[in-house]
């Protein structure tokens, strides 16, 4: 355990203002640490990693790490990532998005990136709310939960990101939480090395905007909730069925080896170039 914090400090940009912008108890900081540990564990050089981030709290992540980073327009992080990956397939492109960024504004891009199976790692930090803009109801807010725009409880059902990405054709789909940091390290490092489109949904509590409106007294309560309301998907009898007690399955939901779009594209290019000669 001796070198974890030192390692993270090595990967941060120390000319930026620290401590970082996330609220006290926000899970995004834990995910940032987990991402850095995963990249370090894989032994990737800093110059070979591209971090593309959209707008929102999660978008601040690209500011702090010393990789190649792009801070893009709202919801369009995956489109920028697609372009980067097609132009230089050697790079490991990690796309950090929030739930509003990935599902509402960039929902179209998410399902089409999954359909194309482009070799990008999408890290979706799901805090169930639009945190940065003041706590409006997002498409991942669970039904009945209170937000700034739904003071009597949300009437709409929430998206199940893992199910949606699985249906859209992503080749690696996993879900973790920022409470289970060691499992999250494993999920993110597997996702980065996976050839096709890989999605890791991370439950990252928002104590400021979501927690205090929904009867969580503080950040610790939210992490205790994550601890007691999640279940490892390996321990379920039928992984396709949701648990009857309402707990949230975490773990790897799909892991198939399929060539990514950039691999298929360069194979086609090689074939056509060979024919012309």
């Amino acid at each position: 355990m001796a070198d974890v914090t030192q390692l993270i400090h090595d990967y941060l940009r120390h000319n930026k203002k620290f401590p970082h912008v996330f609220c006290a108890g926000c899970g995004h900081g834990i995910v940032l640490g987990s991402l850095i540990r995963s990249v370090h564990a894989l032994g990737l050089p800093k110059d070979d990693v591209v971090l593309v981030a959209g707008i929102g709290c999660s978008g601040r992540m690209a500011v702090y790490v010393d990789f190649n980073t792009v801070h893009t327009t709202h919801g369009r992080a995956l489109t920028f990532a697609t372009g980067i990956k097609m132009a230089n397939p050697k790079l490991k492109v990690i796309c950090v998005m929030g739930d509003g960024d990935a599902l509402s504004i960039g929902g179209n891009h998410l399902i089409h990136a999954a359909r194309r199976n482009i070799g990008v790692t999408a890290l979706i930090l799901n805090n169930h709310i639009y945190g940065m803009t003041g706590g409006q109801c997002s498409s991942a807010t669970p039904q009945g939960d209170i937000s700034m725009t739904t003071p009597f409880g949300s009437l709409e059902k929430a998206f199940d990101i893992a199910d949606m990405c699985k249906a859209a054709g992503a080749s690696y789909v996993a879900r973790g939480t920022s409470f289970h940091a060691i499992q999250l390290d494993r999920l993110i490092s597997t996702a980065i090395m996976h050839p096709g489109f890989s999605v890791v949904e991370v439950f990252s509590p928002c104590p400021t905007q979501y927690g205090r409106k929904n009867k969580f007294r503080n950040a610790v309560d939210m992490y205790k909730w994550l601890k007691s309301n999640t279940v490892k998907v390996e321990t379920l009898k039928d992984p396709d069925q949701k648990p009857a007690d309402g707990r949230i399955p975490i773990g790897v939901f799909r892991d198939v080896e399929e060539p990514g779009l950039e691999e298929r594209y360069f194979e086609l290019q090689r074939k056509l170039m060979g024919q012309n000669r």
């Binding site: 355990m1 001796a2 070198d3 974890v4 914090t5 030192q6 993270i8 400090h9 941060l12 620290f18 401590p19 970082h20 996330f22 609220c23 006290a24 108890g25 926000c26 899970g27 995004h28 900081g29 834990i30 640490g33 920022s178 409470f179 940091a181 060691i182 104590p207 503080n218 950040a219 610790v220 992490y223 205790k224």
Partner: protein, 108 residues
């Protein structure tokens, strides 16, 4: 991490980076940390630390470092230089320690 021995570590909290979320205090299995009057994490019972690493992995602000202790009880200056536990001196396998190796060929 595998050995649950107490008193092997120094727990260092950087107060400038701590935001006082209380995660380390609430989840520490040995109750090493407390929140002080300023609302920041503080080390109260360092000798109880079992080096599980929860606080270091889960601190959202990267404000806690667990460092191995040297024999005189101080935290090691460079955490990556490895452990300097007594086992090392008995010739058992353990991570490398940066020590001045005696030169096998003194004439060179």
């Amino acid at each position: 991490m595998s050995k649950k021995q107490k008193g092997q570590t120094r727990v260092c909290v950087y107060p400038d980076w701590c935001k006082g979320c209380g995660l380390c205090v609430a989840f520490c299995p040995a109750k090493v940390l407390v929140l002080n009057a300023f609302g920041k994490a503080e080390v109260a019972h360092e000798d109880e630390c079992i080096n599980c690493g929860f606080c270091e992995l889960h601190c959202p602000d990267f404000a806690i470092a667990i460092k191995p202790r040297t024999r005189n009880g101080a935290a090691q200056p460079d955490p990556r230089s490895g452990w300097s536990d007594p086992e090392n001196e008995h010739g058992r396998a353990s991570p490398p320690v940066r020590t001045a190796e005696p030169n096998p060929n003194p004439e060179e």
